[in-house]
């Protein structure tokens, strides 16, 4: 398994596997940013010491196996319904830390109503929104957040706004509402952005612990497989093109 390396005296471990993460082998594609984001959530749970009272909600999408990767209680939601399921859990047991982890189809297509209304009610939950502008699990169909001109299996000639609409800015929409406490957009295509994304995720969980209300972290992600790019190329695509349509930064922060 591990490279057999004898660590000499005088060295300390500065990076290891988070306690919140199980030993299960990752099912994500090589280079998929899901892996980074999943790990950041686990690191945040570790740092806040909340593993034993956290309940995660897995979506339908590439992260459908999310319950395998964490060492906490989990509930599998129907496609798009995670925010309603989270509402049910949090209203029944406000003492638990409840988070959803959803892709762009789950959160912003089929789940739009559940997402908007949970945000509008200011449900005291944490939402991790992984936006890679495509439906990965089902083989690469258009998502609400697909860029104009982007080729997908359902837009083989490229997304045409006239026919397929424009990329949906769900986070901008949610930021207009009174209910949410924190809406932010981050990315993980390089180390600096990973560090910032982690701080955003920590804040989104801390908000729940402090009862501040609905906190959503959108994270621009890649899909090397369905974008037909190498992982490195895909990361660059986000850095150079996606951020122009989906600018990074805090869209709402009550403090």
């Amino acid at each position: 398994m591990r490279t057999e390396v004898a660590i000499p005296a005088g060295y300390k471990k500065v990076f290891g596997r988070p306690r919140a993460l199980s030993d299960a082998r990752s099912t994500y594609c090589p280079g998929c940013h899901h892996g980074i984001i999943t790990r950041l959530v686990a690191e945040a749970i570790d740092e806040l010491g909340i593993l034993e009272r956290t309940v995660g909600i897995s979506p339908v999408g590439c992260a459908v196996f999310l319950d395998r990767f964490f060492n906490c209680d989990f509930v599998q939601a129907a496609h798009g319904r995670a925010c309603a399921v989270a509402t049910g859990i949090k209203r029944a047991r406000p003492d638990l830390v409840v988070f959803t982890y959803q892709g762009d189809g789950d959160l912003a297509a089929i789940g739009t109503a559940e997402t908007v209304h949970a945000a509008n009610r200011g449900e005291n939950i944490t939402v991790i929104f992984v936006n890679n502008g495509i439906y990965g699990m089902t083989g690469g169909e258009m998502a609400p957040t697909t860029l104009p001109g982007q080729r997908t299996t359902t837009t083989p000639l490229g997304r045409e706004p006239r026919l397929h609409g424009y990329p949906l800015k769900i986070s901008e929409m949610l930021a207009q509402l009174e209910g949410p406490a924190y809406i932010t957009r981050q990315a993980v295509f390089d180390y600096r952005h990973i560090v910032r994304a982690k701080q955003a995720i920590l804040k989104a969980f801390r908000n729940q612990l402090e009862g501040k209300g609905f906190s959503l972290v959108e994270i621009l992600s890649t899909c090397p497989t369905n974008w037909r790019m190498t992982p490195v190329e895909a990361g660059r695509w986000v850095a150079e093109h996606v951020v122009k349509v989906y600018p990074l930064g805090d869209l709402k922060d009550v403090g």
């Binding site: 398994m1 591990r2 490279t3 390396v5 660590i7 005088g10 060295y11 300390k12 471990k13 500065v14 990076f15 290891g16 596997r17 988070p18 993460l21 082998r25 990752s26 994500y28 594609c29 090589p30 280079g31 998929c32 940013h33 899901h34 892996g35 980074i36 790990r39 993980v188 390089d190 180390y191 990973i194 560090v195 090397p224 190498t230 992982p231 490195v232 990361g235």
Partner: protein, 77 residues
Amino acid sequence: MPKGIVVVDKERCKGCGLCIEACPFGVLGFSSEYNSSGYRVVYMEHPDKCTGCAVCANVCPDVALEVYRQEPTKEAA
């Protein structure tokens, strides 16, 4: 600069190359080894350049890397 060691979990590595790209010192490279899933695993190609900054481990989507860093000695402190 402190020295660092990157330990690769060969079975978790998927040969995606993000760590190789991210490393500021060009420490990592693809080895000639394939793991049981058929992925080409990374290794420390230039171990003496490693400072234990852990940027590689931070970008690894598979948590396949562990990083160790030399502690500062009394003289250096």
